[in-house]
């Protein structure tokens, strides 16, 4: 059974509320970029909303959802409650208080610095301190899961850890490595600077520390989605996991490759040599490999499911999958969107081609396919399946839940394709108005911004369906005994022997060495150079 249900529910509850608020902001932004006037539309509201949407979706929704999912999966798979439940609750409250501080700063207009918060734009110190507390809370969550794993390991020496827990541990390790960067930026630069203890900060150093965190952050979002794809979806679709050891290999590769890649977000930055940017390009492309392997294993598992449901031909297994099960449909559609997003990502990471798309609408088109679909749509699917188990009620408004993933899919295609195209045409991302005083170049992307807005409206309707179904389930769903959380069985049976990929801590050592190679020299080089700091600015 799932233990610590209340804690898991509380985490997912915060995530869904954050998602709900951010959804309204998204609608306004999509309409604003198409220059469609709404009564409350203003530049101040738009940039405030972009900040709120980014922070609430990318940081709050994801982190709390992952914490809830991690607790449910770990306690179910290890068949024991969390080792330190009180510490885990303390972690939740630290993160919740941090989130409240960040939300206050943003909604009161004191932190319109976008979710990347590049200095010398300067937010209220509550924004930086709150964000740090959110991260500290997540560290506590990770420590409790690791302690629970060690307690299990002591009782089960020589047994491979269940795959779902292997994936959650990978998520935590990637998160710990990643947050070293942002924690340094917060503690040594932004917090003392926003409190007036420090007059200036070096904006480039801040960007290096931010992107040290910013790219592994995407794997912190993605790995839990992969855990669901590997360890839950094959069973829900009616089949088995095609390969257990390759899934473990994928997790090991994510541990070592997630972090030494951050400069691919800084290709266009001055002050970083082209050689180091190229080095990070190589590691960035290497990290495509585990995702390619995942594509194979997950597709093969789905084929197994289709055949177990009676498919005979080459492709009819696709039609045999339970497309009317909202959980499975959400995941399948999220995978299709992710395949498109993955290839777009390879273009972003391509050293030379990046100049065409950097900071254009292409980027928002890209990450709404990845974090906005592969991750968010998968999490919505997970919620349809997990929340009833957590609260002991039947899913309410199931018809809305059935339609929701398809609406998301269509809305996202409209939104994302139009933004990819306007991006290549040179339209910047994150601008309130895209007309540039009627410039000829700007008139060419007008029709496409309307398509993007139409996609945004569909996404809003889809998100509303999700929220209504969740709200209905928690408040009005009929109380009923729910089937317990079950994980997919590997085709070749549960592993009994440890393989090299189970040596998690050895992979952590490799990861630390790689990160040191990728970052120690350029950071030391940077710190040795004479640089000039910047005072803070609040142009919002």
């Amino acid at each position: 059974m799932i233990h610590n249900r209340r804690l898991a529910t509380a985490n997912i509850g915060v995530a869904v509320v954050a998602f709900g608020i951010a959804t309204f902001m998204a609608l306004m932004q999509a309409l604003s970029r198409a220059s469609l006037d709404l009564p409350w539309r203003s530049a101040k509201m738009y940039y405030l909303s972009v900040t709120g949407h980014g922070v609430l979706m990318a940081i709050v929704f994801t982190t709390f959802f992952i914490m809830g999912l991690g607790i449910a999966f770990t306690t179910r798979a290890l068949e024991r409650p969390l080792k330190w439940p009180r510490v885990a609750w303390a972690g939740f409250w630290i993160a919740a208080v941090g989130t409240a501080m960040v939300a206050w700063a943003i909604l009161w207009g004191k932190a319109t610095v976008l979710y990347t918060f590049y200095p010398p734009l300067q937010a209220h110190s509550a924004f930086y301190i709150g964000a740090t507390l959110l991260v500290v809370g997540s560290w506590v969550w990770g420590a409790v899961i690791i302690a629970s794993y060690f307690a299990w390991k002591k009782d089960n020496p020589g047994t491979p850890v269940p795959l779902a827990v292997h994936g959650i541990l990978t998520t935590i390790i990637v998160w710990y490595l990643a947050t070293v960067g942002v924690a340094s930026e917060m503690l040594f630069q932004l917090i003392p600077w926003s409190l007036g203890l420090k007059e200036t900060v070096d904006p480039l150093l801040a960007r290096m520390l931010f992107w040290f965190f910013g790219h592994p952050l995407v794997y912190f979002w993605l790995i839990p989605a992969y855990v669901v794809w590997y360890s839950v979806v094959p069973r829900e679709a009616g089949g088995k996991l095609f390969s257990d050891p390759l899934a473990r290999m994928v997790f090991a590769l994510f541990i070592i490759l997630s972090t030494p890649v951050g400069f691919h977000h800084q290709f266009m930055d001055p002050g970083i040599s082209a050689g180091w940017k190229l080095a990070h390009t190589v590691t960035t492309f290497a990290i495509l490999f585990p995702s390619f392997v995942t594509a194979f294993t997950v597709t093969a598992s789905l084929e197994v499911a289709g055949r177990m449901r009676g498919a005979r031909g080459l492709f009819d297994w696709i039609a045999k999958l339970p497309w009317n099960n909202p959980m499975v449909a959400a995941v399948l559609l999220s995978m299709i969107l992710f395949a498109v997003g993955g290839f777009g990502g390879a273009i972003n990471a391509a050293y030379g081609m990046n100049a065409v798309v950097h900071n254009t609408a292409w980027i928002q088109g890209h990450f709404h396919l990845t974090v906005g679909s592969a991750v968010a749509l998968t999490f919505m699917g997970v919620a349809y399946w997990l929340v009833p188990k957590l609260v002991g009620r039947d899913l309410e408004l199931g018809l809305l839940a059935k339609w929701q993933p398809y609406l998301w899919f269509v809305g996202m295609l409209l939104f994302s394709i139009s933004n990819h195209i306007t991006g290549i045409m040179g339209m910047p991302r994150r601008v309130y108005e895209t007309s540039y005083g009627g410039s000829l170049a700007a008139t060419q992307w007008e029709g496409l911004t309307l398509i993007s807005a139409a996609g945004g409206v569909l996404l809003f309707v889809s998100a509303s369906f999700f929220l209504l179904s969740m709200l209905g389930t928690v408040l009005a769903g009929p109380k009923a005994e729910q089937p317990t959380l079950e994980f997919a069985e590997p085709l070749e049976g549960e592993p009994t022997k440890l393989v090299v990929f189970d040596r998690i801590w050895a992979w952590v050592v490799v990861a630390v060495i790689l990160v040191a190679i990728a970052y120690a020299y350029p950071l030391a080089d940077h710190l040795a150079m004479e640089t000039f700091g910047s005072p803070g600015y609040k142009p919002f």
Binding site: P270, L288, H358, N359, A441, P535
Partner: protein
């Protein structure tokens, strides 16, 4: 640990795709010199207006015929906000920020760089097609961000 034949084939294929991608990047880098703007030079953002390198802004032509454009980015404008450069001539842009982080993108071309206070952004490119180009700031810099732009006019000489 058992790995299926199809998995092996797939993994070799995936590896090959990655090698091809990296090969294409290496080719563009080595043979065509396509590097992202990675100039390393610092400048004090609080004195940038009087700094000798940025006190005179605008377009200058070097003795060898190459052209240099010196600009400052600030909330919410580029200075100067209209530049004229010749076609088919290497143009080196040198840009610094007087306040926060900005972006500099020549719409419809590969011209794109971040402008970070304290650092000098520099890149060189040649324009084949005469005409009027829109320059945008593509990094959020405050409530007037969407108004921050400039015009680049590439003149004659086809």
């Amino acid at each position: 640990m058992h790995v299926h034949l199809y998995e092996r084939i797939w993994m070799w294929g995936a590896g090959a795709i990655i090698v091809v991608f990296l090969g294409a990047i290496a080719f563009a880098t080595v043979s065509q010199g396509r590097l992202p703007p990675s100039h390393v030079e610092t400048v004090d953002p609080r004195n940038v207006w009087s700094d000798a390198r940025f006190a005179q802004r605008g377009v200058t032509t070097n003795p060898d015929g190459s052209v240099e454009v010196t600009m400052l980015a600030m909330m919410f404008a580029f200075q100067p906000n209209e530049i004229r450069v010749p076609a088919n001539t290497p143009v080196t842009f040198r840009i610094a920020s007087a306040d926060v982080v900005h972006g500099f993108q020549i719409v419809g071309t590969n011209g794109n760089t971040m402008v970070i206070p304290g650092y000098v952004s520099q890149f060189t490119m040649t324009f084949d097609e005469p005409g009027e180009y829109l320059i945008t700031c593509n990094e959020y810099c405050g409530l007037g961000h969407h108004n921050m732009g400039a015009t680049l006019i590439v003149e004659g000489g086809v």
